[in-house]
């Protein structure tokens, strides 16, 4: 039987996550421009972080298995990989819901969405490989090697690839303090990509202290296009008018202008810039801690079940 301390810890986790849910819905304020939809960040970000943690744990136990050849290490590696896969699916689903509200579409092959999809495929490959092999030693050995190689891709697919691509609508600059979207520099007549929107700078015009740009914005697939007129206040050296992208809650802003060279820097202004509210940050932290504890619990149960399954198979083999 589980020790009393473990049971109390699990009960506390249940209460903790209930508190996180309550805080998510009724304590933290709404995000400016996003309304109640912005609250999903309290689920989305921690599940994504926990998936990275889980894949890291899986790779660690895979390395330990290759070193020590203990079946328990392989059970732990597999359990962590399965939990990581589950949390990645949760992060993807919550992200897709957010995407539907903010971008108007569940899935638009944004670099962030594509990279997480590739990550899911890689770990699905691990499970398929293990399922295809009958020899337990071979299954464990190859699974451990695959898991190590799979983890090498995790930092690239989760942290590097989406930041290398300028054409992402994933709101790094909106929610993560310290990160920023650089935007794109365009001169008159030039075309660029801002988010998944094609933008073309038609002309620049100075009217008093303001510089106004005429920008054609095209939807993906060139379904429709609109002309927007973001402006820049020269006296305050700050963006002035920031019209919304058609059908989105993101705005286009003129971040900087060089009139002599005829070049402007256009960028996305996401609603609810920075989760600066203390309650939101504390809830996000509490959610991350809660999901981490939940992962540890789930992973322990699954590893135990895999161990029991292995013991039963051993005994069945001995009896036959």
């Amino acid at each position: 039987m589980a020790s009393t301390r473990t049971r109390v810890a699990h009960l506390l986790l249940g209460l903790w996550m209930s508190g996180v849910l309550a805080a998510m819905f009724v304590v933290i304020p709404q995000y400016e421009g996003l309304g109640n939809t912005g609250r999903i960040i309290i689920m989305h970000v921690p599940t994504a972080w926990v998936s990275v943690l889980a894949f890291g744990v899986s790779a660690t136990f895979s390395a330990l298995y290759l070193w020590r050849k203990k079946p328990e290490d392989d059970d732990r590696a597999l359990a962590a990989a399965e939990c990581g896969f589950l949390f990645t699916v949760l992060a993807t689903v919550t992200g897709a819901i957010f995407s539907q509200v903010v971008w108007g579409i569940y899935w638009n092959w944004d670099p962030r969405q594509t990279s997480i999809f590739v990550l899911l495929l890689i770990y699905a490959g691990l499970f398929a490989l293990r399922a295809a092999l009958d020899n337990p030693d071979q299954k464990r050995q190859l699974g451990a090697v695959f898991s190590l190689f799979a983890f090498v891709t995790v930092p690239f697919l989760i942290f590097i690839a989406p930041r290398m691509a300028e054409s992402t609508l994933h709101p790094n600059c909106a929610f993560l303090p310290g990160s920023k979207c650089d935007g794109i520099e365009l001169s008159e007549g030039r075309i660029g990509l801002l988010g998944d929107r094609k933008v073309q700078l038609l002309m620049l015009e100075q009217q008093g202290d303001q510089v106004i740009a005429q920008v054609i914005v095209s939807e993906p697939g060139l379904v429709s296009e609109a002309t927007l007129a973001p402006s820049f206040d020269l006296t305050q050296a700050a963006p002035a008018a920031m019209p919304e992208f058609p059908g989105l809650r993101y705005r286009i802003k003129m971040q900087d202008v060089d009139l002599t060279a005829g070049v402007v820097r256009l960028n996305i202004e996401a609603p609810g810039t920075e989760a600066s509210d203390l309650r939101t940050r504390l809830t996000l932290l509490a959610s991350t801690l809660g999901f981490t504890a939940l992962f540890i619990w789930m992973y322990q149960i699954r590893a135990r079940l895999l161990g029991v399954q292995w013991q039963l198979e051993q005994r069945q083999g001995a009896w036959q």
Binding site: M1, A2, H10, G14, L21, G35, N36, W297
Partner: protein, 73 residues
């Protein structure tokens, strides 16, 4: 308009649904945890079956009229 869809009410309904889902997940994990521990405890208490050595078979063919057995191993 449906009262449940009003912004002030809908957020509480969403909270109740989320809490109900979490309660279900928690109860499932709690039960699975207890059952897996019990299963492990039982397995540890039961002695593992001894693996018997491979069975060897000897065949002796004997004809009464020949006296000495043939093919004895």
């Amino acid at each position: 308009m449906n009262v449940a869809l009003e912004a002030g009410v809908a957020v509480y309904i969403a909270l109740i649904v989320a809490l109900a889902v979490w309660a279900g997940v928690f109860a499932y994990l709690w039960r699975l945890d207890a059952q897996s521990r019990e299963l492990q405890r039982r397995l540890e208490q039961q002695p593992a079956p001894e693996i018997s050595p491979p069975v060897s078979v000897s065949v002796r063919q004997q004809r009464p009229d020949l006296g000495e057995p043939r093919g004895a191993e």
